[in-house]
């Protein structure tokens, strides 16, 4: 027996190839070229009326997406001018996901997301002034300047905030749903995270518990193709959506560059989750046009790849639809865009001139009580 094992080992040794730990993910590399970020599924063919969206809804959707885009473009300029520091993770390119979702959910359904959170905040009622002031670290910011770019929140509108630890807020999303079920209040929770977060253990623990307890929650990966600088194909095995299968969880892939597709899927899934009190996992495929953060040189992707996705731009897509359907004219768009541009510029001016928090604010908001203990 001993001899046999020895022989086997020797044989194995001869066949050994050079060891490498280069990630081997979904899809194949062709001729050394990394395949593009995400494959977008076909968008819905339904028109707005059959989705139950009015012309006013469409106009509001366009305004919301355009606001998110211009808010961030202006924020980026201000950052580059040195008006504020810290991190700045831009959502540009992904606006259809937040917008389609918020229009599909009830206003008191709960939303929690990761640090790429500006679009979500604006969508759930953080004003451009409150948002920009938060970026500038001003007391008038939505989180009183205590959170910055990564921690926008407006809990009165059931937007529980952006969270900075990748995957850390996934169980918290489950907890929001747990409380809704406990209180039998009819609300569902939705929890958004990037494709990098699917590799965290938190996701797996939470998926298991959510399915076990029938939590009314939609987990959504906004798969933008990159976990910081590592392509999805290089950081995770198999299809992301298939993570749900191991837990017997319902799942679906959605085109996140088309606001109608997001709206349609979210409406249907929210109804299912609310009715059956069971979790759901959505992989919404999208694309971020900017780097992971402002310091990202973006050497992991090609200009051509970026341009391919920009041809599917969610804002341009809706604009084309609205024009084709003769719902809005060029003049209407000019009016909307001017109005939003003005609103964003006012927000920048407001943030720039607003006061920083008083030094005493350092100690505020640490504890629930008025006069808490601080060790020193």
């Amino acid at each position: 027996m001993k001899k046999f094992w020895h022989q086997k080992l020797t044989m194995a040794k001869k066949k050994t190839k050079e060891i490498n730990f280069a990630p081997r993910g979904i899809g194949e590399e062709k001729d050394g070229v990394v395949q593009k970020g995400v494959d977008l599924p076909s968008p819905t063919k339904k028109k707005h009326k059959s989705l139950g969206l009015s012309e006013d809804d469409l106009k509001a959707m366009y305004e919301q997406m355009y606001l998110q885009r211009r808010f961030e473009e202006r924020a980026m300029q201000q950052y580059q001018k040195g008006k504020f520091g810290g991190f700045l993770h831009l959502y540009i390119g992904q606006e259809a996901v937040s917008t389609g979702t918020v229009f599909a959910l009830n206003d008191d359904d709960d939303i929690i997301t990761a640090y790429r959170d500006h679009g979500w905040g604006l969508c759930r009622g953080i004003t451009p002034k409150e948002g920009m002031a938060e970026l500038f670290g001003k007391a008038a910011g939505c989180s009183k300047g205590k959170g910055g770019s990564m921690h926008f929140a407006k809990t009165e509108n059931h937007f529980w905030g952006g969270y900075g630890i990748v995957g850390g807020h996934i169980p918290i999303g489950g907890g929001l749903a747990f409380a809704n079920k406990y209180d039998q209040n009819g609300r569902i929770a939705t929890c958004f995270f990037g494709d990098g977060a699917v590799d965290q253990g938190a996701l797996h623990e939470t998926f298991n518990i959510s399915q076990l307890w029938g939590l009314p929650v939609i987990y959504v990966v906004e798969n933008n193709g990159y976990s910081m600088g590592t392509a999805a194909k290089r950081h995770t095995v198999a299809e992301i959506v298939d993570r749900a299968k191991g837990y017997g969880m319902k799942s679906k892939v959605v085109n996140g560059m088309d606001v109608f597709s997001v709206y349609e899927a979210m409406k249907e899934v929210a109804e299912d989750v609310r009715k059956n009190s069971e979790p759901y996992f959505l992989e919404i495929r999208t694309y971020r046009y900017r780097g992971h953060s402002m310091s990202d040189p973006q050497k992991y992707r090609t200009k051509e790849e970026l341009e391919t996705y920009q041809k599917n731009d969610p804002i341009e897509r809706l604009k084309t639809y609205l024009k084709d359907e003769k719902i809005l004219s060029d003049d209407d768009f000019q009016e909307i865009e001017d109005k939003i541009e003005e609103e964003v510029l006012e927000a920048v001016e407001f943030a720039d001139n607003a006061d920083f928090p008083e030094k005493s604010a350092l100690y505020d908001d640490m504890f629930a009580e008025e006069d808490p203990y601080f060790h020193n």
Binding site: T155, P171, N208
Partner: protein, 327 residues
């Protein structure tokens, strides 16, 4: 007064608070059908049902985070860890989320949550089941940390912890669960968080000791009494907020202090108390403050090594002799 085991005092506190407030629930490994790994939740499932007494998978990160989300969204969770040694897996939720979500959203989030379970060593359980974490959690702003030594304190402080609107770490000990003590039978018995207690009066030396180490200190004090040394024992009960005035008052009387702590020495509770005493009572000290802690070594399994590792009454007596210059 009723005589209760430590575990019964814990159970009474949970039971009373669950009866009082519908939003309070308990979740953790083996808390429901098994009646608690250490029987601190015995009978609660029968009384409150599966909605409020919830068995979890072995997923500390997952269920601690679900607790955090539930607390944000209006509930008052009690999260039981089978030991705080396992809570390390949930540290992201406790340290990065529970203690910070309110602050970083400018006060928009309340976090009424209790993380509780046994802390520190419990006999020969090896290196990964024997660590005292109270100093570590006390390091982080936004957390209150309680580690009690007797059933009465446990009941009164756990009830206060469950009613607190902030995250509270509440620590117990596997080795104290069977320990009996008089517990107040006052209706709705609450001990304020942050108040220590003089548990033994004496004029020669102050010993500061909490949790399981309180009992090591009392054994040492009994021995020392026979030698004519009167020890004053202060049990801070709450590690943070710390009842520093109580400690300083005692030192102004005794002029000597030994801190007994079941954590490792570096940057622990004993180190902090030592610093605070030199700052607040330097002129009152007749000897440098001494500490008795674990060595800077992992917990060994072997009985003689384990006994060498854990602070003992002998170690405390030696330290007292040092500060009283009797050695």
């Amino acid at each position: 007064m009723a005589e209760l085991q430590f575990r019964e005092a814990i159970k009474e506190a949970i039971d009373e608070e669950m009866a009082r407030e519908e939003k309070v629930f308990i979740m953790g490994e083996e808390v429901a059908e098994y009646n608690g790994a250490y029987k601190t939740t015995e009978g609660l499932l029968d009384k409150y049902g599966y909605k409020r007494v919830i068995d979890t998978p072995i997923s500390e990160l997952g269920f601690a985070g679900i607790g955090v989300g539930a607390a944000m969204n209006g509930l008052r969770p009690i999260i039981e860890f089978m030991t705080f040694n396992f809570a390390v897996l949930a540290a992201d939720q406790i340290i990065n989320h529970a203690s910070k979500a309110g602050y970083m959203t400018g006060g928009q989030i309340d976090m009424p949550i209790v993380f509780r379970g046994p802390n520190a060593s419990a006999g020969q359980l090896g290196a990964t089941h024997s660590v005292a974490y109270d100093s570590m959690y006390a390091h982080f702003p936004g957390l209150k940390v309680i580690y009690t030594s007797e059933p009465d304190d446990a009941k009164g402080l756990l009830k206060s912890a469950i009613r607190d609107d902030n995250p509270v770490i509440f620590m117990e000990s596997e080795q104290m669960y069977g320990m009996k003590g008089e517990v107040s039978d006052e209706d709705d018995y609450l001990i304020p968080i942050g108040k220590g207690k003089i548990k033994r009066e004496g004029s020669d030396v102050t010993i500061v000791a909490h949790g399981k180490m309180y009992h090591v200190a009392t054994q040492a004090a009994a021995q020392l009494e026979k030698d004519g040394v009167e020890v004053e024992i202060i049990d801070p009960r709450t590690v943070k907020p710390l009842d520093l005035p109580l400690i300083i008052e005692s030192i102004k009387k005794t002029n000597r202090c030994v801190v007994v702590d079941e954590a490792h020495p570096f940057a622990g509770f004993a180190a902090e108390i030592g610093f605070l005493i030199q700052r607040e009572a330097f002129d009152y000290l007749d000897a440098p403050v001494q500490r008795v802690t674990l060595p800077d070594v992992n917990a060994p399994f072997s009985k003689p090594l384990f006994d060498e590792w854990l602070p003992s009454p002998k170690n405390v007596i030696d330290a007292v002799n040092q500060v009283t210059y009797r050695s």
